[in-house]
Amino acid sequence: MKKIKTTAGFMGTSEQKEKLIAMIAEHKDIKGSIMPILQKAQEIYGYLPLEVQQIISDETGVSMSEIYGIVTFYSQFVLNPKGEIAISVCMGTACYVKGAKDILDRISANIGIKPGETSKDGRYSLDATRCIGACGLAPVFLVNEDVYGRIEKPEDVDDILKKYTES
């Protein structure tokens, strides 16, 4: 599994840290709780930079190497924050056979970043995701929470993206 290293600077607040430490205290005595702790930590920060992993390691006594190992193993855990405009293109089989790759390429060319990256200014992020289960609407992509399905041809994404880039 390929992981891109964190590029953005850490800007965690003291409220976030308090929340994190309280959450860890609540969970750490449950068997096998490191996964739920990481999931909740990602809910608080939006991603899991080394700074956050270090706090979790200190509070739970689980070594950094173990935590880093878990974070980089699971694709849900991310080392980069999501962009303000987060785009994900479904690469499930149904979407793939209906041309999802062309849609991904078109979007990538359009906003100038590769899949898996967040743009330097933090405005855009682009992901190629596993099947999101909306196969009936294939091919499908998401911008933030909005679902765009039954995309007939790659060019159709241009107008959809305009709605976000111009706002």
């Binding site: 999931q39 849900q76 089989t93 793939y96 056979v97 909306a134 196969c135 294939a138």
Partner: protein, 634 residues
């Protein structure tokens, strides 16, 4: 001790009579939705599908509009609106069904609601233009149960999906819910439960098809102070969504079955490991767990029998390998989800080192009806060694994309042509892919084989979790094989060498072939590597990873050979291996020239056009735009 909650339901039921009384109280309101017009007594229900498919296509807007409209007409107390789980026809969502007259509406938009309310619900005349198009034959309305999509289906795992409100435990109880748990706890010994599951012949629906009863028996026979029941809801196969639909549409069935399993193997704790990507399923399951606890159907001293059982939810974090049982257990324990060698099998030494049974969501959903109706009820359906039904997630180049449940032994042709409605745009069937990245491609010549666990294995595919992707003549089989291998290469956890490195080497050979660098002998290398990886990998992921390649080489060898020898991709998918050419049918209409994003087409009006290959990016726009079939893939 009977207590009353705000909505008038009992909680903390201590015996089966209380459960039965509750069932009888709500029975009529559900009977309306199963074709019992007598039960309706003037009452009307409108069911809005709230499955993920319909959610994505906008069912919430429909629901809001429907409630507003009913309120405006003063009908909010007379017509009951119910949000249900998935009906199966995801491609035609948002869906609405009215009862008791059973009118099935497709592709409903918010603007259609007012008409449906005034003309149909008030005026009694269905809005034909929005009725499911298959349910209108020669201008006449037929019951949607008689349409091809529904009539070949037999619902066991999905029996409540699309009928009950999954967030209302009373509706599940009204459909004989928790009766099986009550029967097992109060009238059967754990061994009798296991024997009944064994006699039903049910095999694991998650992929490998191991006999469920036998698995339970192993765990029962292992002595331990603590045992676990685990439900595998980490549905990772791209294109499969049956587990999600069951959790979303009928979560209590899984809870009830897990409790029955707990009683059978003497476990008091369960875990459900569900994909974090399924927020609706997780939410509905959490609601169901709370209700079951409130009603005393989970917790301590269930039905006053002294049996204790409760369930925890653990969210997956997006690793395909965690669908493999030992990797899933390692993940629940809080580690990287890497598989461990078997034996010892989880039934002997599983979660936290204790005996554990692991079953898939769909398998669990079959258990309560088996306990309630006896083993023959299931074993009379299906084939000799694969009893009951199987849910398939139909996808790809097929009209009725969605979820279907058919008896084992139904042919692929029936599923694809009748239930699935065939291929759109009059294209020809080429293959069906079953079992996701672990399965294989089945060519159209073998479409008359009855689908069951053993038949699929014998033709080089497998049941897997039930994803079924239909492919037509436009799909390149080499590219499909590459796609699935790309998936397993990325998802390989890296623990064992054959899977980690072997699949990578296969991938490189396949990439060479699809990019025009294939060499004679590549196919033999792929076959040899594939057999070695199958034989020597640690877990199911590696053992099955070569299947998509081996099966496509077996059935579509000529396609690979054209890629390697002639450096051509006849389907026009592998971009390095074809070019678009304009033929003599071109009349010079200039549509393609104007559509081309890279200005690669030249030519004057009313004169044949020409594609400059060095500029062409093979996007295919010209090919799709041409109205005269003047652009060939060559």
């Amino acid at each position: 001790m009977i207590k009353l909650t705000l909505n008038g339901a009992w909680i903390n039921m201590k015996n089966i009579n209380e459960l039965t009384a509750l069932r009888d109280k709500f029975k009529n309101s559900i009977a309306i939705r199963t074709g019992d017009t007598a039960a309706a007594n003037g009452e009307k229900h409108v069911l809005v599908c709230g499955g993920t498919g319909c959610h994505s296509s906008g069912c919430n807007a429909i629901l809001k509009k429907l409630k507003e409209s009913l309120k405006t007409h003063g009908l909010e107390d007379k017509i009951k609106v119910v949000v249900t789980g998935c009906h199966g026809l995801c491609a035609l969502g948002p869906l609405i069904i009215t009862h008791p007259d059973e009118i099935f509406y497709e592709l409903v938009e918010p603007d259609d609601i007012e008409e449906i309310v005034t003309k149909h619900l008030i005026g009694g005349e269905p809005v034909l233009r929005k009725v499911y198009h298959e349910a209108i034959v020669d201008g006449k309305l037929i019951s949607f149960h008689e349409t091809d999509f529904f009539k070949y289906q037999h619902k066991i795992s999905l029996k409540n999906c699309g009928i009950i409100d999954p967030e209302c435990i009373e509706e599940y109880i009204a459909r004989d819910g928790y009766q099986a748990l009550a029967k097992a706890l109060t009238t059967m010994t754990p061994l009798e439960v296991i024997d009944m599951v064994k006699a039903s012949g049910i095999r694991g629906r998650g992929g490998a098809g191991f006999l469920t009863g036998r698995k339970w028996a192993y765990a029962y026979l292992t002595d331990s102070d603590k045992k676990y029941v685990v439900c595998n809801a980490d549905e990772g196969d791209p294109g499969a969504f049956m587990d999600r639909s069951i959790l979303e549409g009928d979560p209590h069935a899984v809870i009830e079955a897990m409790a029955i399993a707990g009683y059978a193997i003497k476990a008091d704790e369960g875990f459900v490991y569900v994909r974090a990507e399924y927020p609706i399923a997780v939410n509905r399951f959490e609601i169901a767990l709370k209700q079951a606890r409130d009603f005393g159907l989970l917790g301590t001293d269930i039905f006053g029998t002294g049996f204790n059982f409760d369930i925890n939810i653990r969210l997956g974090a997006g690793a395909f390998v965690c669908g493999e049982e030992t990797a899933l257990l390692t993940s629940i324990e809080g580690h990287r989800g890497e598989p461990r060698p078997r034996p010892p099998f989880p039934a002997i030494k599983g979660l936290f080192g204790k005996p554990t049974i692991l079953n898939n969501v769909e398998t669990f959903a079959c258990i309560p009806p088996v306990i309630l109706n006896g083993p023959e009820w299931l074993s009379k359906l299906g084939t000799e060694n694969s009893t009951g039904t199987k849910v398939f997630a139909l996808g790809g180049k097929i009209k009725n994309i969605g979820l279907v449940e058919v008896p084992m032994g139904t042919t692929l042709r029936t599923v694809a042509e009748q239930v699935g409605g065939g291929i759109p745009n009059g294209k020809a069937f080429k293959a069906a892919q079953t079992g996701g990245p672990s399965g294989g491609c089945i060519p159209a010549e073998l479409f008359d084989i009855p689908i069951d666990f053993d038949n699929l294995l014998s033709i080089g595919s497998m049941m897997g979790s039930g994803g079924m992707i239909i492919m037509d003549e436009d799909n390149c089989m080499v590219d499909i094989a590459r796609y699935f291998l790309d998936f397993t290469v990325e998802e390989s956890c890296g623990k064992c060498t054959p899977c980690r490195i072997g699949t990578q080497r296969m991938m490189e050979i396949l990439e060479n072939i699809t990019e025009g660098r294939g060499e004679v002998g590549d196919l033999e290398k792929l076959e040899e590597l594939g057999e070695h990886i199958k034989a020597s990998s640690l877990c199911g992921l590696g053992m099955t990873a070569p299947n998509p390649i081996l099966s496509t080489i077996k059935y579509f060898r000529h396609e690979y050979e054209t890629h390697i020898n002639d450096k051509k991709c006849a389907s026009g998918v592998c971009k390095a291996l074809f070019q678009y050419v304009i033929n003599e049918k071109c009349i010079g209409c200039t549509i393609c020239k104007r559509a081309c994003p890279t200005d690669a087409i030249c030519g004057e009006v009313k004169k044949p056009h020409f594609i400059m290959q060095e500029k062409c990016v093979k996007c295919g726009v010209c090919h799709d735009k041409c109205k005269f079939s003047a652009i060939n893939i060559g």
